[in-house]
């Protein structure tokens, strides 16, 4: 028991330490030219999406990074796939470049004859960015986990859970018995696959985002609004497509409302349809983003004050925040699933 606690403590120490190593490397370089450390730039660089997976910056200014594939489509040049390493340091490749300044910063643009970004027709950027790789890795981990779980169920049949089942079955049963059944009722079975997928997808991504190193861990996946948007969209579509007669009547002819109020009520109800998944999207996004920002800010304290003496304090707070984020990782996955179940239940419930 004691060794387990010690192990856990060292794990989190290592976790916090690897943050500092990752960022310390970057700062050392800046320190050489005595440039003022800009915390917001560093934090935003970490949490924003990027075409490369930055690992460290050497003392001579050389970047060590994993260059991710760029998949870009423009009307004139067609579909182009190449490594983002070719666009590093403002290089041009096949008429594309990575804009480094201005309002198109960080985007891939087509270079026109003047050697400037063509702001009129932006190419369609379908690159495998850092977020996408993080997402893909989480999906692969999830697939391995649950396909092996399914296989072990085939093996054990209806006997008591063994091995991996003992960890995951209580969670699956929790989602079924405490989220799906109390909210949706007897029609829950149809929605179980979605609720389970959403829960574990968010959870795996949240947890992977907490582990800072090595890639593909540490990407800010669930703190990316595109991902939470897709997840919320799924809940939205499932809710609308399973809406029964009483659900739609509630929207377009709310019972108990005088008909002269309907011109006001119908738009309000329609806004309500969209605001629910919108809240889902923003909640997950903001919570995960905020967690990353807080942890990174605490790390940045060391570099803002430019003293190693602050490191123990910073590490202490980072460990504390990591525990907090561990809770939040589960909590947000739970809340997303719970609210999805709740919205579905509003759509499928029978008229009382």
């Amino acid at each position: 028991m004691k060794t387990k606690k010690l192990f856990g403590f060292f794990f989190f120490l290592l976790l916090a330490g690897s943050y500092i190593i990752t960022f310390g490397q970057e700062v050392e370089e800046k320190g050489a030219v005595k440039e003022k450390f800009k915390a917001n730039t560093y934090i935003l660089e970490h949490i924003a999406d990027s075409h490369e997976w930055h690992i460290l910056t050497k003392q001579n200014g050389e970047n060590v990074a994993i260059y991710l594939p760029v998949i870009v489509y423009s009307k004139e040049k067609g579909l182009k796939i190449f490594s983002s390493g070719r666009l590093a340091h403002g290089q041009q490749y096949k008429g594309f470049k990575l804009e480094e300044e201005g309002n198109l910063k960080g985007k891939i643009v087509v270079v026109n004859e003047a050697g400037l970004a063509d702001e009129e027709n932006l190419p369609l950027d379908l690159s495998m960015t850092k977020t996408v790789i993080g997402l893909l890795s989480a999906a692969i981990i999830g697939l391995i986990l649950f396909l092996s779980l399914a296989r072990s169920y085939k093996k054990t049949g209806i006997s008591h859970p063994k091995g991996i089942q003992r960890f995951l079955e209580p969670v699956i049963l929790f989602i079924r018995d405490d989220i799906a059944i109390p909210n949706i009722g007897h029609k829950y079975e149809k929605y179980m696959p979605y609720l389970l997928t959403a829960f574990f997808f968010i959870l795996i991504n949240n947890l992977m985002g907490l582990i800072p190193f090595p890639p593909p861990f540490g990407a800010n996946v669930t703190g990316n609004i595109a991902i939470t948007f897709i997840l919320a969209c799924c809940t939205f579509l499932i809710t609308q497509f399973s809406g029964n007669k009483s659900y739609w009547r509630h929207v377009f002819a709310t019972p108990g409302v005088p008909f002269w109020l309907l011109p006001i009520m119908i738009p309000v109800e329609i806004i309500g349809l969209f605001s629910k998944p919108f809240a889902l999207m923003i909640r997950l996004f903001a919570n995960m983003l905020a967690g990353h920002i807080v942890i990174l800010s605490l790390i940045c304290l060391i570099f803002i004050f430019d003293t190693l003496a602050l490191a123990p304090v910073s590490i202490f707070f980072v460990i504390f925040m990591d525990f907090m984020e561990l809770l939040v990782a589960f909590l947000q996955a739970y809340i997303f699933t719970l609210l999805s179940a709740l919205f579905i239940s509003l759509a499928v419930q029978e008229q009382h």
Binding site: N40, L44, I47, A48, D49, I71, N103, G106, K107, L124, D125, L126, S127, M128, T129, T131, V132, L135, L136, A139, G142, L143, F146, L147, L149, A150, Y153, K154, T156, G157, I158, S159, E169, I172, L173, R176, E189, M192, P193, Y194, L196, T197, F201, N224, I225, A226, I227, F229, I230, L231, C233, C234, L289
Partner: protein
Amino acid sequence: MILLSSSLTTPAVGTLFWSALIFGLFFLILTKFAWKPILSAVKARDEMIKGSLESAAKAREEMLKLQSDNEIILRKAREERENILKEAREVRDKLISEAKGRATEEAEKLIEKARIGIENEKLKALSEIHEQVATLSVDIASKLLGKKLKPSGEQSKLIDNYLKEIDFKKN
């Protein structure tokens, strides 16, 4: 505002595309190959547990019923036994009393018979004694008188008178 000008709050098309693709595939593959078998296995187990619990409850109920049945049967048997014993006792008592009655009757009859017999014998003996005594007295008297008395009517009458005078009752 840094946040608003950055790409943080505007979803990128590429990320949207990939996340929709990855999440969609993740969902489809897991639904088909993981959630369905897992959920059905869990459900099968739940149903088995529920079924066995139900059958156990039923068995217990049946056992209780059997137990109460047994008790009823036992009670009935006990009552039966009591009844049989009671009847037997009654029969026995009746038999005994009947036997007793008959035996008493029989004994009384026997005693009566014996008494009658004794009476008859006594009477017979008495009359014999009468005769003997008469003969003896005649003999004695004739010896005393030296003459043979004929047992005529007069003499017999006399003897009888004498004999009557002798009170037998004194003996």
